[in-house]
């Protein structure tokens, strides 16, 4: 578990530079970004809805937040966590974020990749089946998979 600590330090450092961000990151257990426990995400009340939606959703038993919201592979995983953790902490404190919370392009891509990672078998025929074909977005049809709406 060297990496996570290193990243944490890195984030805290960046945070100090920005002051408030890091304060929140620590105080509001932004570090929970580095754990795998969904309840940890819900440390932030603003994550409550998604948490509840996940509990009600079909994937509760098979996937936790990080399975869908962080890319596979340690480095990129904690990079994403640090990035989101930091910015979300910042947004949370300043209260400056779009309501309702909406996934951004980067994290949407992460999520889509996660679907394909676990369901490679099922979707191979429709997805990778033909060379060069653009991909259909999973959530276009399965919007409620992660979070029952």
């Amino acid at each position: 578990m060297k990496l996570p600590v290193a990243v944490l330090m890195l984030v805290v450092a960046a945070g100090l530079a920005l002051g408030v961000g890091a304060y929140t990151f620590v105080y509001a257990r932004g570090a929970s970004y580095l754990t795998n426990d969904p309840a940890a995400c819900a440390n932030c009340h603003v994550m409550r809805e998604q948490y509840d939606g996940w509990i009600a959703g079909s994937h509760r038993a098979v996937a936790v937040c990080n399975d869908c919201h962080t890319p596979p592979g340690l480095v990129s995983k904690y990079a994403t966590k640090a990035l989101n953790g930091f910015w979300h902490s910042f947004a949370f404190t300043t209260g400056r974020f779009h309501e309702p919370i909406q996934i951004n392009a980067r994290n949407h891509a992460v999520t889509e990749a996660a679907c394909r990672h676990c369901h490679a078998a099922v979707v191979e025929s429709i997805d990778a089946g033909r060379h060069g074909a653009a991909r259909l977005t999973c959530t276009g049809c399965h919007a409620s998979v992660g979070h029952l709406q």
Binding site: H119, A121, I126, S144
Partner: protein, 428 residues
């Protein structure tokens, strides 16, 4: 469990046949894609829904028409259609449409072939014409298209064997969707141009999701035959809305026929599913024909597109429930609510139009002059095209509920003006 699936799915397709651009027979393609082929062949099924599907009506085959089963006659269901289309081939034979497997036979043997001389252009949407066009054109698709259009129907018919087949929607090498119908290529280019998009090439510029609707738009559209060459044209140069199509017909002074009872130069709208869908909330939300009519289905470890193209009401679970979390009964009820509203207005508009036709007929008998009848006849042309636009569209309003109601409301308003116009003048 997932792990198993992974291994199973390493290669979803086994390339047992080397497909190329000259192979029309779906059975050959089916060797590589047996799952899609099996579902494709199920379009022979005939099941009826309140307004869709089709009913299998037994008939005794004859020399002229060997079909032992046809779909129910829409003319018998609603005799007012005979009056609306008086003098046109549709008044002799018009049936509920059924699955793709029947498209070639139903066109070949409809009585509309007997009462009128039809051109090869008809075949564009009733057969796998891709290779035939390529051959006729010596490799040039458009040349072949022009050639087949102007052939007499019987001659053109001899050049084709299959209903719409894999090759009409898919590229043999990549299986990617493609548009193979020049009429759609030209139509959509014109429509895009009207929106300010220059030089639109559908096979180059369309997204994958768009293609999931465009392949259907090759045929499920309003059309007419232009000039002596019988070029198949989709009237989209001003846009896809009913008023824009009527405007382009008016501009070209085009008429499908002269109404037998009133002498009005009238138009016949035909299956504008693509156009109606384009005005609806689903199109606006990026939901394509294939999403509802060819939903994905699980077959073992794989997910494939259900090639049993049919009414989604026969498949609500896969067609709707991935996006809508309502029960099957509730979803059917929602569709029916929309369709019954549309049907009610369609009937009001039909009664109105029949009344106008009666009025004009009466006025002509009373000795109204051509000049006196002209305004009312023009309102008949308008009211009729608008009504027929919804009547001929096969979702009974579902593809664009408010738009369908809007069109019928305007049809009734045209009739109103026509009935007033015919009463404003007295014979000389």
């Amino acid at each position: 469990n997932i792990l198993e699936r992974k291994s199973e799915a390493k290669n979803p397709f086994y390339r047992v046949v080397e497909l190329n651009d000259t192979l029309t027979d779906p059975a050959l393609w089916g060797k590589n894609f047996p799952l899609q082929y099996d579902t494709y062949r199920r379009t022979v099924d005939q099941v009826r829904t309140r307004f869709g599907g089709s009913e299998a009506m037994p008939r005794t085959p004859s020399q002229a028409d060997p079909r032992s089963i046809v779909a129910q006659s829409r003319l018998e269901e609603d005799p007012r259609l005979r009056t609306m289309w008086a003098g046109y081939a549709f008044a002799t034979d018009f049936r509920e449409e059924r699955g793709h497997a029947y498209m070639l036979d139903d066109q070949t043997y409809t009585e509309r072939q007997i009462v009128a001389q039809q051109p090869g252009a008809c075949l564009n949407c009733h057969a796998s014409t891709y290779t035939a066009m390529k051959t006729l054109g010596g490799g040039d698709l458009v040349k072949g298209f022009e050639a087949i259009n102007r052939l007499p129907y019987a001659e053109a018919r001899a050049l084709v064997t299959h209903p719409v087949a894999c090759i009409d929607c898919h590229a043999p090498d990549t299986m990617q969707l493609r548009v193979t119908r020049p009429a759609f290529m030209e139509g959509i280019r014109a429509a895009k141009a009207a929106e300010g998009v220059k030089d639109y090439d559908v096979n180059r510029d369309a997204t994958r999701q768009e293609m999931r609707a465009y392949v259907c738009g090759q045929c499920h559209v309003e059309y007419h035959f232009q000039g002596a060459d019988k070029r198949l044209v989709y009237p989209w140069s001003k846009g896809l809305k009913v008023e824009q199509m009527l405007a382009s017909y008016d501009e070209a002074k085009f008429k499908d026929w002269t109404h037998a009872e009133t002498g009005a130069p009238v138009l016949k709208a035909q299956h504008p599913e693509f156009e109606m869908w384009s005005q609806g909330i689903h199109a606006r939300s990026g939901v394509a024909c294939a999403d509802c009519h060819m939903p994905y289905m699980r077959v073992g470890a794989l997910k494939i597109s259900d090639h049993h193209v049919r009414s989604p009401l026969l498949n609500v679970n896969l067609a709707c429930q991935t996006c809508h979390r309502w029960s099957e009964d509730e979803l059917k009820a929602r569709v029916l609510t929309i369709q019954e509203r549309t049907f009610g207005l369609r009937n009001l508009a039909m009664d109105a139009l029949i009344a106008l036709i009666g009025d004009i007929k009466g006025a002509a008998a009373d000795g109204h002059t051509e000049a006196q009848l002209a305004p009312a006849r023009d309102f008949q042309r308008k009211a009729q095209f608008y009504l027929d636009f919804v009547e001929a569209e096969n979702s009974m309003g579902f593809h664009a509920p408010q738009e369908a109601a809007r069109i019928l409301a305007e049809s009734i308003d045209f009739t109103r003006k026509g009935q007033v116009a015919v009463r404003e003048v007295r014979p000389p």
